[in-house]
């Protein structure tokens, strides 16, 4: 999720939180503090890089995807779409129920 909201461009911590909440239509209620260790971990793994940038009147730590992060996002997105498609196919109502013998 964090990687996907950074796909469009660099964001700082609080902007990432609001982006996740906005994208989920408010369905995802995150404990906002959990974002920070997660960002740290993703940066350590080389999926993100960060730098101090001026945002408005203040300097903020902004994160952006690395090339490895972008590839990782594509892989994870494909795997998730395949998974949800498979589950969706199972849960979809059957159009012609099999007759009981």
């Amino acid at each position: 999720m964090l990687l996907s909201v950074l796909e469009a461009g660099p964001l700082h911590g609080y902007a990432i939180i609001t982006a996740v909440q906005d994208r989920s239509g408010g369905a995802l209620e995150l404990r906002t503090g959990t974002i920070y260790p997660a960002l740290n971990r993703l940066e350590r793994l080389g999926l993100l890089r960060s730098s101090w940038q001026s945002v408005g009147e203040r300097r903020r730590r902004c994160y952006e995807l690395t090339e490895v992060g972008r590839r990782n996002l594509d892989t994870e997105r494909s795997a998730w779409q395949a998974f949800t498609h498979a589950i969706g196919s199972v849960l979809a109502p059957a159009t012609q129920p099999r007759p009981v013998s």
Binding site: G13, Y14, R31, G33, Y36, R41, R61
Partner: protein, 233 residues
């Protein structure tokens, strides 16, 4: 950027939920100073942004700050996750310190050996064994840098690795102290005694640097294993 610790300690911010929260985190967490300061600063910025978003006029008030802190999660919940990252950062820092120090020392000793032609140097075997301990620690440190860096995307980082690297660093530091002492004591017998004294001094400095980093790593590893904070916020 102002260092968060300084700001929190110096300002009279009693009653400000954000400053109180940040102070609790800052007190509870241990790790490399720069990484910790950056982490705390980011959390402070995030809380300030959240409070501003909750405030109708954009200027955070006490109520908005309290709401931002509530949504952030309790310190009890967050400290273990944050400490885990700081512990790994300290582990990498200690591993880097060990690897660089040992490489520098071995180069230094080789240069000393070339410069000092005395092949009958006393306690040569002892120093050889101690250098072996340091080389083993350096190899472990190099592996740690790989396992906690690029390889971490494919392999899980072993939970006991910080403790292992902390004690490897401690062993390396003790070996450095023994070598420094040996070099200092036997300097009088060396053909080129100023060189031997210089070698002892460099080794002693390395002992202090590696020892301090290993001690910090031990403390982080200990905190990483602790139960959640007693007081929940």
């Amino acid at each position: 950027m102002t260092a968060v610790g300084t700001r929190v300690d110096s300002a009279d911010q009693a009653g400000d939920p954000i400053e109180d929260y940040v102070r609790v985190l800052s007190t509870a967490l241990r790790g490399p100073a720069q990484v910790k300061a950056r982490m705390i600063q980011e959390i402070h910025d995030g809380l300030t942004d959240a409070a501003a978003a909750h405030s109708p006029h954009g200027a955070p008030d006490h109520h908005a700050a309290s709401q931002a802190v509530r949504e952030f999660g309790t310190a009890d919940d967050l400290v273990p996750e944050l400490q885990r990252e700081l512990t790994l950062a300290q582990t990498r820092h200690t591993a880097r310190t060990v690897a660089v120090s040992v490489a520098a020392l071995v180069t230094c000793w080789l240069l000393m050996r070339v410069a000092d032609q005395n092949t009958d140097w006393p306690l040569r075997t002892l120093v050889g064994h101690l250098a072996g301990v340091m080389a083993a620690a350096a190899l472990l440190a190099a592996s740690t840098l790989a396992v906690t860096g690029p390889l971490a995307r494919r392999l899980p980082v072993p939970g006991r690795l910080p403790r292992v690297i902390a004690w490897a660093g401690t062993a390396c530091s003790v070996a450095m102290a023994a070598v420094a002492l040996t070099l200092a004591v036997t300097a009088a017998l060396a053909t080129n005694w100023p060189l031997a004294v210089l070698g002892a001094a460099i080794t002693a400095v390395s002992h202090v640097i590696v020892g301090a980093s290993a001690r910090a790593c031990r403390e982080c590893a200990r905190l990483d294993d602790r139960p959640a904070l007693a007081s929940s916020r």
